[in-house]
Symmetry: C2
Subunit: 199 residues, 2 copies
């Protein structure tokens, strides 16, 4: 647009590239930034640069960390007899929010997907097996997604881990809490019936 | 959250402060930034800093500009006999998109609002009157919003401008194009009937 200054247009373009940000949202954010104080805008820019400079992967579980172990691995109060295997670091955030799990994690860095060319060797599976060998881990929760790739990965891992004498479990499938039976898809409802529990 | 690294949490907080960005969107953007290349993230940070450093107000119309006149005022092909008065620079963007207006603009920097403590002296009204005196401007379009503050400002300006022998006009009110009569609010529909035009 002719009426727009070059640096405003450049910032609009940068924001539009972010996930979930369309042209309208980008415009709203850019005008907000133009009206906000210099130091506010600089703090955002600085935080972006800082996150890229300081965040690396935890050498033990491959969660995001700032040099050395991640916050979970470094926490000596966590139960190191139970390990939760997830695809991505963001899954850890979701599980931590439940406050139901106090063990350690292992991030695979994806899920097995022949279509996308992701083989077991592209994931941190070797590191996981190395971690289990000679450790105190008694149970591994395979918390990969409940789609084809996640299920395939869980089955693959289960076959590798069971011979080590470690119990493997999978997150329960069923109706979402607060959900209507009427609106549940048939696969989920079928799984809920299959895994019904006694009251 | 204990499981989050400090710099990730800081960036999440910064993004959540932006308009229209909730915790979920902020998380999505931050994880995207963590996965993207170093240079991509830096370009966004740089664009934020640059916009704050280079963007100032046009000395003639108070639109955003990069030192000196804004893109509209600097464009010699624009019709300088017609002036469109708006509240904010973003209104210029909206009007430019219509490609229906080829004159110049004047940004008030808000609208008269006794409740919010905005008096005529807080706006660029004196600059507007100064601009009109001895200029070639034949018509001033008062394109403030159609809410109470915008209408008040338009009436106030109209009373100041008319004695200068300059025609003042207001944007038409009526049904939005593609809108259903059934769903129009009664004030808008009343205005549409009042301002009906002959076919």
């Amino acid at each position: 647009m002719m009426s727009q200054s070059l640096s405003i247009q450049k910032l609009l373009d940068e924001f539009e590239r972010l996930p979930g940000i369309g042209p309208k949202s980008a415009q709203r954010i850019v005008y907000w930034l133009l009206n906000t104080s210099h130091s506010d805008a600089e703090r955002l820019a600085q935080a972006i640069i800082e996150v890229k400079e300081t965040v690396s992967f935890c050498p033990q579980c491959f969660n995001y960390a700032e040099g050395g172990l991640c916050a979970v691995c470094a926490d000596t109060k966590r139960d190191n007899s139970i390990l939760c295997v997830v695809s991505e670091p963001r899954d850890i955030t979701a599980i931590e929010k439940t406050r139901e799990f106090s063990g350690l994690y292992h991030v695979l860095g994806g899920a097995i997907s022949p279509i996308d060319g992701v083989s077991p060797d592209d994931l941190t599976i070797k590191d996981l097996i190395g971690r289990l060998a000679g450790s105190e881990v008694k149970e591994v929760i395979l918390a990969t997604n409940t789609n084809v790739e996640g299920e395939t990965t869980a089955v693959y891992l289960s076959k590798l881990i069971k011979p080590l004498g470690v119990k493997t479990t999978r997150l329960a499938s069923g109706l979402p809490v607060g959900g209507d039976i009427e609106f549940a898809d048939e696969v989920t409802l079928g799984r809920a019936i299959e895994s019904r529990r006694e009251l």
